[in-house]
C-alpha cells in the first residue's frame, strides 16, 4: 500500500511535468536558422547609401554562375564547406571586382528528420578590390540580413 501511494503521487508529478515539457518540443526543418551561404550587400562608397547593381558573380570552384539583375541590393553566395577560403569575382559591363573570404564550416543535425544543417562562422575578408568592406555578421544565419557590406 505504501508503495502504491508513493507511486501514485510520483506519477502525478511526472505526468504534469511531461505535459508541460512536451508542449515545447515541436520543431520542423524550416525553423533551422542556419544558412549555408553568406549575404553580401552593396553600398555606394561616396554616399554610403544602398546601391542597386547588376553583376555576374563567379565563385572559384563552383559550377554555377550567379547572375544579379540590375536592381539587386544584395546577393547570397554559397561557401565551399570542404575549404576554408573562397574567392568571388563580380563582373559587370563596366567594372570587375573580387573578394576573398575565410571561414570555418560546421555541420550539425538540427533534427533527425531533416537534412544535416550546414553553417559558417568566423567569416572575414582576406582580400578585396572593392573600395571598402565591412564584416557585419561573422556567422551565416537567417536572423542576419547581411554578412559583408561592400562599398564601391
Amino acid at each position: 500500500m505504501y508503495f502504491c501511494r508513493l507511486m501514485s503521487k510520483g506519477l502525478l508529478i511526472i505526468l504534469s511535468i511531461c505535459v508541460l515539457l512536451g508542449c515545447s518540443d515541436i520543431d520542423n526543418c524550416t525553423s533551422d536558422s542556419n544558412t549555408s551561404f553568406m549575404v553580401v550587400r552593396f553600398f555606394d562608397f561616396e554616399t554610403k547609401e544602398s546601391k542597386k547593381v547588376g553583376f555576374r558573380v563567379t565563385a572559384s570552384g563552383a559550377a554555377d554562375l550567379f547572375g544579379l539583375s540590375a536592381d539587386s541590393l544584395a546577393i547570397g553566395l554559397p561557401l565551399d564547406p570542404l575549404d576554408t577560403t573562397g574567392m568571388f569575382l563580380f563582373d559587370s559591363d563596366t567594372n570587375d571586382y573580387s573578394i576573398q573570404v575565410r571561414y570555418n564550416a560546421s555541420f550539425s543535425l538540427f533534427d533527425p528528420n531533416c537534412e544535416p544543417s550546414l553553417f559558417f562562422s568566423g567569416l572575414d575578408t582576406l582580400n578585396s578590390s572593392f573600395d571598402s568592406t565591412a564584416i557585419i555578421g561573422i556567422v551565416t544565419n537567417r536572423q542576419l540580413t547581411t554578412n559583408i557590406e561592400v562599398y564601391f
Partner: protein, 205 residues
C-alpha cells in the same frame, strides 16, 4: 500564580542506521528500447548505498545511436553519474525511497556523419567524425523506489539535466550525448525506470 499547560509535540527522531543497505539494478526503459530496436543500443546499471537518510548513487551506462535518412549519423560511448539523494521516507530501513538528489555526470563518446551535399560546388561527399568527445553535466533528480516482493524493488527517477558542456568537437557538432540525450536544447529531461535488488548490510528490524 497562573499556570499554563503546555502540549509538547514530540520530535520525530530518525533512526541512526549507518550504512544499512545496498541496491543494484538495471534501467528497464533503456534496455527495453534496445530490445524494441529503433536504432538504439543502450544499457544502464545503478548501484545505491544507503547511509541513514542519504543514498549515494552511481550509474554507469553504454549508448549507441544510429540515425539515417538522406544521411548516416552514428554516435556511441559510455557515461556515468555519481551523486547523493536525500531520502524523505519516515523509515529508510525498509528500503523504500522518496528522494531528491543531485548528480554529476560525464560521458566519453565519438560520432560520425556521412552524406552527399551540393552547396553550389557540385556533389561533395561529406565524411566527418569526432573521435574523442567528452561531455559533462549536472542533474537534479526525483527518485521513487518501492518494494515489490522479498528484496526486489522497482521505481523511477525523473531527471532534469543542466549545465551541459561538450569538448572535442571538430567541424561536426555532436547531436547525441550518451546518458544526456540530444543537444537541441541546453537542458534535457528524462524518465528512467529501474528494477533493483536490495542487499541489507545491517539487521535493522
Amino acid at each position: 500564580m497562573a499556570s499554563f499547560s503546555q502540549t509538547e509535540i514530540p520530535k520525530v527522531k530518525r533512526p541512526k542506521l549507518g550504512f544499512h543497505e545496498a541496491k543494484f539494478g538495471v534501467n528497464l526503459l533503456r534496455s527495453g528500447r534496445t530490445l524494441l530496436g529503433s536504432g538504439k543500443d543502450m544499457h544502464e546499471g545503478e548501484l545505491a548505498l544507503a547511509f541513514n537518510s542519504w543514498n549515494y548513487v552511481f550509474d554507469f551506462g553504454t549508448e549507441k545511436n544510429e540515425r539515417s535518412g538522406t544521411y548516416s549519423y552514428e554516435n556511441s560511448g559510455t557515461y556515468f553519474r555519481a551523486g547523493v539523494d536525500r531520502n524523505f521516507v519516515q523509515n529508510p530501513a525498509k528500503g523504500n525511497v522518496l528522494a531528491l538528489g543531485l548528480r554529476y555526470a560525464r560521458a566519453s563518446f565519438d560520432d560520425q556523419l556521412s552524406y552527399t551535399l551540393d552547396n553550389g560546388f557540385g556533389a561533395q561527399d561529406i565524411d566527418l567524425s569526432n573521435t574523442d568527445l567528452k561531455a559533462r553535466w549536472m542533474e537534479l533528480n526525483f527518485t521513487l523506489r518501492g518494494k515489490i516482493v522479498s528484496q526486489l524493488y522497482t521505481g523511477f527517477t525523473l531527471r532534469w539535466k543542466f549545465s551541459r558542456k561538450v569538448s572535442g568537437e571538430g567541424l561536426l557538432k555532436t547531436f547525441d550525448i550518451p546518458g544526456f540525450g540530444n543537444t537541441k536544447r541546453e537542458n534535457a529531461t528524462s524518465f528512467d525506470y529501474y528494477l533493483m535488488w536490495r542487499i541489507p548490510l545491517k539487521k535493522t528490524e
